[in-house]
């Protein structure tokens, strides 16, 4: 077809547009399977689970050796700790290479330069060994030296008081590490818990998310007169899943980039505050770890931050499993899965209400799938696969054989991905880089935070407390 014959529309008014033929819109499609970290988290998590299963079935202790960390040493002198490293140096070298290869290759395929990732990951691994070593000190618990909190604070100090080059961020992949950890968590998560407590978590999370979202939105628009797109970005960021949800909504409603930037600042700021505050307030109130986990699951803004808080309180209370389970049910199952739906709803509102005259095409319901956090599939897959594999064992066999030789090593491997994540949160948080959010967005967001925290507490402790306090028993 000649250019003169090309059909032009009132939509296409520029000369360049009319005369040139743009390529067909080709989205990532199947490439997503190797270009998105969600899929890689599934491959790694499920792959590690199968590796553990094969090793277990062959009677090999390979996974146990790979899962080594100094957190369980309970050392009382530095000499004792050094002795542990001297004795197991070859295992740590092997473990380091294992993590370097699987994370290095996968991030390289996603487009992150290996030349930057390798030195960054070496730094991260050494710091992680140090964090575990601190938690392995016999008096660590006495001084509240919980690894997630120590890792976060050390990371923050290094990132903000020392001139760490920005390129080091290549290896500090917070989201990738936590997603891999969540898939691994699935392998140790009882499927019965999902069936019995999942609907309650969904109900509680939905009530709180909708309430918080509406509060922030209406305070922002009606009280402070903020732009509705900014209001939608910060309201979903504060109620569903932090920066990830903000990113999804921002693109759904065609928000200004600065609105997303504002939400990033608000979410990161409050999430860091909550990582520190929620575990200590839970401790002060003597909450059961499952209850605190559920509360953190409704009140924290992002998976990584929430796992840090839940894990910290779990260690303080002596039942990390219960806190992690409560958090996972509330956050991963109750909130994360619905990002796509929220995006679609806001896209529809933006299209049909805010820009009636200029909206060309209605948003596609496929957006729900496009924005679905795919790593959640891996979590469920791991849960169901592990349940199916271990279903034939009696309780006695499970406790005497499966738990110490299969479940515990997987938990330990998961703890490595979590510590990489917690350190990375601190190491990537440079306060000088964050945009000033502005008083009105801050006030609107903070109102939502207050409502969220109070409502989350009431529902976790008083309304559904009996469900959450039973976790981990």
């Amino acid at each position: 077809m000649d250019s003169k014959d090309k059909p032009t529309t009132d939509y296409c008014e520029t000369k360049v547009c009319a005369d040139e033929t743009p390529p067909a819109p080709v989205l990532m499609g199947w490439k997503e399977l190797y270009l998105k970290e969600d899929w890689w988290a599934i491959y790694l998590g499920i792959g590690l689970m199968f590796f553990a299963l094969i090793a277990f079935s062959m009677g090999s202790n390979a996974v146990k050796l790979l899962a080594i960390n100094p957190g369980g040493v309970h050392w009382t002198s530095l000499g004792q700790l050094m002795g542990h490293f001297q004795q197991n140096l070859h295992l740590y070298m092997l473990q380091f290479l294992f993590w370097l290869v699987i994370f290095g290759v996968s991030t390289s395929i996603m487009g992150i330069k290996l030349s930057k990732f390798i030195p960054s990951f070496i730094f991260l691994y050494i710091l992680s060994v140090m964090m575990f070593s601190i938690s392995g000190w016999a008096n660590a618990a006495k001084y509240n030296l919980e690894p997630p909190l120590v890792a976060l604070i050390v990371g923050l100090i290094l990132a903000n008081l020392f001139p760490l080059p920005k390129w080091l961020d290549a290896g500090f992949r917070v989201e990738y590490f936590i997603k891999t950890g969540i898939v691994l968590l699935g392998a140790t998560f009882p499927v019965t818990l999902i069936v019995t407590a999942g609907p309650i978590a969904l109900l509680q999370a939905t009530i709180i998310s909708v309430t918080t979202c509406l509060v922030i939105y209406f305070v922002a628009t009606k009280f402070f007169g903020l732009d509705k797109r900014l209001a939608s970005v910060i309201s979903v960021g504060g109620s569903v899943c932090g920066v990830s949800a903000s990113m999804a909504i921002a693109s759904s409603v065609k928000a200004k980039t600065e609105y997303l930037y504002t939400s990033v600042t608000l979410v990161v700021g409050w999430a860091l505050v909550m990582i520190i505050v929620l575990p200590f307030v839970s401790k002060l109130l003597g909450l059961a770890p499952g209850v605190a986990g559920a509360w953190i699951g409704t009140s924290e803004f992002a998976d990584a931050a929430g796992f840090a808080a839940a894990s910290a309180y779990g260690k303080m209370s002596g039942n990390e499993n219960a806190a992690i389970q409560g958090f996972t049910l509330m956050k991963v199952i109750g909130r994360d899965m619905w990002i796509g739906i929220w995006s679609f709803v806001f896209a529809m509102i933006a299209c049909l209400k805010w820009e009636k005259e200029e909206c060309g095409v209605r948003p596609s319901a496929m957006e729900i799938w496009w924005r679905f956090p795919k790593f959640v599939i891996g979590f469920f897959l791991a849960t169901f696969l592990m349940t199916a594999v271990t279903a034939g064992y009696s309780t006695v066999e499970f406790n005497s054989s499966i738990k110490p030789n299969l479940i515990q090593p997987l938990v330990s491997i998961r703890s490595w991905t979590f510590i990489f994540c917690f350190l990375s949160i601190g190491l990537t948080t440079r306060f000088r880089d964050l945009k000033a959010a502005g008083l009105k967005p801050f006030a609107a967001f903070t109102t939502g935070v207050v409502v969220n925290v109070i409502l989350g507490f009431v529902m976790s402790v008083y309304v559904f407390g009996s469900y959450w306090s039973a976790l981990g028993k």
Binding site: M1, K6, P7, Y11, C12, T14, C17, E20, T21, P22, P23, A24, P25, V26, L27, K36, E37, D38, W39, M110, G111, R173, V174, E175, Y176, V243, S244, S246, M247, A248, A250, S251, S252, K254, A255, K256, T257, E258, L260, Y261, V264, T265, V267, V268, A271, A302, C359, G360, E367, W370, F372, P373, K374, I425, T428, T429, R430, D433, L434, K435
Partner: protein, 68 residues
């Protein structure tokens, strides 16, 4: 191929950048608790012309210019 509305997605526009490393660079702090490599971003990117954060399938801009 005809120039139709169907082609006028941001994805094909020279002002649109959705490379994950560029998105993270443009939004400091984004990678602290999220990632441009995550599924939820769904290839959204930044319009350098209007400074908007847009889905690649967005299609209503009169400043559209073909990406070379």
């Amino acid at each position: 191929m005809a120039v139709t509305r169907a082609n006028h997605h941001c994805l094909n526009c020279k002002y649109f950048n959705n490379e994950p490393d560029r998105v993270e660079e443009a939004l400091p702090g984004l990678s602290v608790l999220s990632s441009a490599y995550s599924s939820v971003r769904a290839e959204a990117g930044i319009c350098g012309r209007h400074d908007l954060f847009l889905a690649p399938w967005a299609e209503q801009c009169r400043d559209f210019q073909v990406r070379k």
